[in-house]
């Protein structure tokens, strides 16, 4: 598993070069933005059930057949598995966001996920839709552009507007999930 720092090291080592000012500028920005990054991660961890439940509910509302007998979310046991998977994906996205690198998400969550779903007969198109909704919800909560109240309490009292860049980064991790399932 890599983070923003070790990712720089691995790519520098491939070139056999020391890490100079150019590469360090990005890492300095990572360190400077650490507080925003932690706030953005808190936006996920404080709203896990909400994000996952909304996404699965949204997915079912768009395809009501899913909860009917014969549907993929019938009976409740399979619906519960769906919610559980939503939370697992959010967990790995939160790790990747904190580390500033997607390797943990790719190695430990996405690698083989599509094959597993195909083998179990999970319809990937619906799974992708749920991930899309989670992405939209997560970005909205992070940047405080969700309707209604502020959904998370950061440690640095930074407003969500400051999390724009980090939220965009979080969106790329959800995109990786979608890509892996497509």
């Amino acid at each position: 598993m890599l983070d923003a720092f070790s990712r720089t090291v691995v790519s520098a080592d491939a070139k056999g070069a020391a890490i100079g000012s150019q590469d360090l500028a990005d890492l300095r920005k990572y360190v400077e933005d650490a507080n925003k990054r932690i706030d953005a991660t808190l936006a996920i961890t404080q709203n896990v059930s909400c994000i996952a439940a909304d996404a699965i509910a949204g997915m079912v509302c768009e395809n009501t057949g899913l909860t009917q007998p014969g549907g993929h979310c019938y009976p409740t046991r399979r619906m519960a598995a769906c919610l559980r998977d939503g939370e697992i994906i959010l967990r790995y996205v939160s790790y990747a966001l904190l580390a500033g690198d997607s390797s943990v998400l790719e190695d430990r969550c996405l690698n083989g996920l599509k094959e597993t779903y195909l083998a179990l007969g999970v319809p990937t198109s619906n799974a992708i839709r749920a991930v899309e909704i989670m992405k939209i919800a997560t970005v909205a909560i992070m940047t405080e552009t969700n309707t209604g109240r502020k959904m998370f309490k950061g440690i640095n009292s930074g407003s969500g507007a400051q999390c724009q860049d980090i939220a965009a980064e979080a969106a790329t991790y959800f995109d990786l999930v979608i890509e892996a399932l497509s």
């Binding site: 598993m1 890599l2 983070d3 923003a4 720092f5 070790s6 720089t8 090291v9 691995v10 520098a12 080592d13 056999g16 070069a17 020391a18 890490i19 100079g20 000012s21 360090l24 890492l27 300095r28 360190v31 650490a34 507080n35 932690i38 991660t41 808190l42 996920i44 961890t45 896990v48 967990r91 939160s94 790790y95 904190l98 580390a99 500033g100 943990v104 430990r108 440690i155």
Partner: protein, 155 residues
């Protein structure tokens, strides 16, 4: 590769939980030291060739080693300093451990290399070169800590 953030994430993943408040505290703690580390890495990168050449010149001056091997010695010292540069960036000894120290003893023994030459070179860099002229006190402390670590591993 081990660093402050990956250690925390691995532990959280092993327990199947989301990163907690204490995880964030530990990540933040490592970032407090990051400024000095990154400065040391930057300055070391810009002085890498100079440090290497000065150290190797000093070691070979007294004539106790074969001059023919000098180029290879320069290459190796350069390599180790580059790994130290990586360690300063990651904030852990991962790069040195994984790419420089594990297996090193075996290689040095089988090729009958004099480890003392390496040790002398790194001790020269640590003690004789005026590192504080190119970087701040805190950065120097970070760099010297890693030089010590490497010297101990070689000894």
């Amino acid at each position: 590769m081990k660093s402050a953030v990956t250690t925390v994430v691995s532990a959280a993943d092993a327990a199947g939980r989301f990163p907690s408040m204490s995880d964030f505290e530990s990540v933040k703690g490592s970032f407090d030291r990051a400024k000095a580390r990154l400065e040391a890495a930057e300055k070391l990168a810009s002085c890498l060739d100079k440090f290497t050449n000065d150290a190797v010149d000093a070691v070979y001056q007294n004539g106790s080693y074969e001059q023919a091997n000098k180029d290879k010695c320069v290459r190796d010292i350069h390599h180790y300093l580059r790994l130290i540069n990586y360690c300063l960036v990651t904030g852990g000894t991962g790069p040195l451990d994984e790419w420089g120290i594990s297996g090193m003893r075996e290689i040095i023994r089988i090729q009958l290399l004099p480890t003392t030459a390496y040790i002398e070179a790194f001790m020269f860099i640590r003690d004789e070169i005026k590192i504080n002229e190119v970087m701040s006190q805190q950065a120097e402390t970070e760099l010297k800590g890693l030089l010590d670590y490497l010297i101990n591993a070689l000894a």
